[in-house]
């Protein structure tokens, strides 16, 4: 397709400009995160006040609740946590950070975005089909997901879910190939592997994981689709009897639901690292930048990024300790899961050492990076607990797990995204001939503190309801019969607190939207390098508002990122691109 022949207006929408594609991805993620957050609020409100009627909908039925859970999880994981850090900021910033002027495959890049948008549309459309959206959670365990009669939403809704994720998997694989090739082939002169910013190492490792994990997921989705419509039985055991219907006639084989769990979690766990790795890299760079310090143990940080990626594909079985996995296998997966605590700890140690006695500048981006560190610690430390099969036997599928992965994956990853947004906003808003804009620091700080308090108030108490035994995916805590009713009712006071906290957390995000609108309308004009950064995306010739003749400038790199020098006059920064040994830019 020759895009230059399209009329001007369509050319703009179907652009192959990697920066605009990056913004398109971020807008898609912003729409998704808004929908996902509203769905989670509906869930929280229903959990503690099940009799509330939702306007334009009516009461929330148990199947509605499970549809909310499923769509919330799917949308947040795929369309927010995978899309925004990897595809959004990856497209916007990655080429410039390695001194490239474009991504390796511009048309494939555009295709990847439009496939992602299509996947989101397919997912959302499942709300409106007979039976509604799928209700089996984002993990879609068969035979529940393999047999259309297993529940409402497991018919056409489930097919649309499978189609959506399959399209998303293809889009992500294309995007990941693009990222890898760009990093390997398009680095500028002097940009050796050891001089690549850690953010780029994050994108690189996440792209490697994407290619490995999404291809397995795609295969699994196809097998499940065959089980549903082609009479195969990869995941349906012989003699399975769902809703009074025996499936022996339509599915003559003898399959294993555990096969799906293996394939799914072989994808599902690396997926978690795909979401967090870019944030890990960015945090390292921002802490160093605002502290005017070198990243402590730079080589170790590169190594730990790769090690986290590598171990990340070896520990999927920790999701299956009580799933029917061989107990000896559980022990092996326990050890591989525990092992990942070490590179993760090395990262935390590097961050603590980098900011130790550094008196950093507390910009909003820096605050969100520090928040990332805090949430990564609190969320991450419960990982080793869940990695022990004997403890998982009690905690599995309780709210303890929900607390763990929301703190580390949802909250830490989102803090990384906020840090990225506040930090790179001048580059996002600048274009040819127009300087970028800085988001309001005052509103930003308020946004940070309310979000931090809200995040902890929402997700810390979930550890406690989990310890009390509250299971996940329960549509209601009130009105449950038997001794179980007692157990669930005991968690209600805490759950009410969590719901109020969640409402507070969601409401405080309005500050972010206010900041966005305020900045776009009348934000402060940003200087060319507002944070006195050392990495190439702030290079005068790579800046989005550089004059056209800047495209002729040769880009070269002379040192690692985040190099600083103390002199009698103060701190001096040494940008990666500068030929001078010392660039005379003083901090404010």
């Amino acid at each position: 397709m020759n895009l230059t022949k399209l009329p001007a207006k369509r050319r703009r929408l179907f652009t192959t400009d990697h920066r605009i594609i990056g913004i398109q991805y971020l807008i898609l993620a912003l729409v998704s995160v808004t929908i996902g957050t509203l769905l989670s609020l509906l869930m929280r409100i229903h959990l503690v006040w099940p009799d509330r009627i939702v306007p334009f909908h009516g009461p929330i039925l148990p199947e509605d609740y499970l549809a909310l859970v499923t769509i919330h999880g799917t949308i947040m994981l795929f369309f927010v946590l995978t899309t925004a850090p990897q595809s959004g900021f990856g497209n916007l910033i990655l080429p410039a950070q390695i001194g490239a002027r474009r991504m390796a495959f511009p048309v494939a890049n555009a295709l990847s975005f439009w496939l992602t948008a299509l996947a989101l549309l397919i997912l959302l459309s499942s709300t409106f089909v007979p039976g509604g959206s799928a209700i089996s959670g984002w993990t879609a365990y068969p035979p529940f997901s393999a047999v259309p009669s297993a529940g409402p939403g497991q018919g056409l809704g489930m097919d649309l879910w499978l189609a959506s994720i399959a399209v998303f998997a293809i889009a992500s694989t294309i995007g990941a190939i693009n990222t890898l090739v760009t990093i390997i082939k398009f680095r500028c002169e002097g940009m050796t592997w050891e001089r690549i910013p850690l953010t780029v190492w994050g994108w690189f490792t996440a792209a490697l994981l994407s290619i490995i994990a999404f291809s397995v997921l795609l295969a699994a989705l196809l097998l499940l689709f065959c089980d549903r419509h082609a009479g195969t039985s990869f995941f349906i055991p012989a003699g399975d009897l769902v809703s009074g219907t025996l499936h022996a006639a339509t599915h003559p084989g003898n399959g294993s639901p555990l096969l799906w769990l293996h394939l799914f979690w072989f994808f599902g766990h690396p997926e978690v690292y795909i979401a967090i790795l870019p944030g890990l890299g960015l945090t390292s760079m921002l802490l160093a930048n605002f502290s005017h310090r070198r990243v402590f143990a730079y080589r170790t940080m590169i190594f730990t990024t790769l090690l986290i990626g590598f171990l990340g594909i070896l520990l999927w079985g920790h999701h299956m300790f009580v799933a029917g996995l061989n107990p000896f296998a559980a022990s092996a997966f326990s050890v591989s899961t525990m092992a990942i605590a070490l590179p993760a700890s090395a990262k935390v140690l590097s961050w603590l050492t980098t900011v130790w006695r550094s008196r950093p500048r507390y910009t909003t981006a820096m605050l969100f990076s520090l928040g990332f560190v805090s949430l990564f610690i609190t969320g991450g430390l419960t990982g080793p607990i869940l990695a022990q099969p004997i403890l998982d036997e009690y905690l599995h599928n309780t709210f303890f797990v929900v607390a763990h992965f929301h703190l580390i994956m949802a909250m830490a990853a989102i803090f990384g995204l906020f840090a990225a947004t506040y930090y790179w906003f001048p580059l996002m808003t600048a274009h040819s001939g127009r300087p970028g804009r800085l988001m309001s620091e005052r509103l930003g700080r308020l946004h940070f503190w309310t979000t931090l308090v809200g995040a902890y108030a929402t997700f810390l108490p979930m550890h406690l309801t989990g310890l009390m035994g509250e299971p996940r995916h329960y549509a209601q805590l009130i009105g449950v019969p038997n001794a179980a009713g007692h157990l669930l009712a005991g968690t209600l006071p805490l759950n009410r607190f969590i719901t109020w906290s969640a409402i507070f957390l969601a409401t405080s995000q309005l500050l972010f939207f206010a900041n966005l609108i305020h900045t776009l309308l009348r934000g402060k004009t940003a200087p060319p390098n507002p944070w006195q950064a050392t990495t190439l995306e702030w290079h005068p010739a790579l800046h989005p508002n550089a004059p056209p003749e800047a495209s002729e400038v040769q880009i070269a790199v002379y040192r690692q990122p985040c190099e600083y020098q103390s002199t009698a006059e103060g701190e001096l920064i040494l940008p990666q691109w500068s030929t001078d040994t010392i660039s005379n830019i003083k901090p404010e």
């Binding site: 529940f144 047999v147 107990p327 559980a330 099969p389 009690y394 599995h396 599928n397 299971p471 157990l487």
Partner: protein, 252 residues
Amino acid sequence: MTSASIQSGLHALSLATWRLPFDASAHGPALDHHLLLNLWIILGLAALAHLILLIGLAARRRPESKSWRIEYLPLAALAILFAFLTLRAERLWADSRYTGPEPTALQVQVVGQQFAWYFRYPGTDYTFGVTKPELVDAPSGNPLGIDPADGHGADDIVTSELVLPANRQIDLRINSLDVIHGFSVPVMRLKQNAVPGMTIHIHFTPKVPGTYAILCTQVCGLGHYRMNANLRVLPPDQFAAWLAAKEKAVQP
């Protein structure tokens, strides 16, 4: 939002009111002890890390320090700590899952089905009868599809509550008729998925008589949240009487 709900929320947050559920099993206390040890350790580590972060941010600026000690010693300490926790956990896991049940253990079958738990006792012949999915017919009193052609099934007892004797090892064989369910008994610190096409054994010893909750912890459909049953642990003599009465009721 009423101030009363805030108050009850804050009250529930205070450490005095939260606790693990009551522990009624033989293996539970060791598990609880290990869990609490873990919780205290990570609470300590989280507090320590935050303390270092805050002190580091508050202290006067100093030139950066570089030393292999800062890089590797804390990591080595953490490696030893995590290895210690892993090994401790592995021993407990091996105790409960690496070995089979004692020969004298009471055999009970647990079957999950959207949205109920069924329990089957082998009856006076100590042998479970053959079941066939095509014979499943809950309305006519055969929810598990016990084959009348197989003599062993005639004396099998099927209940909707799990009744067990205290202080005797129980060997559960868990499976499911339709989709994956999660068999969970919080007071017994037990959890095991019920997977169709598989029969999974777990064994444990209930200690304290009482009535406890059995939940489903794997999302299995719209009735998932109300798929539960009662576990009634009885003193051995009362259990014997209960079993005898049940056996008498199914005498052909």
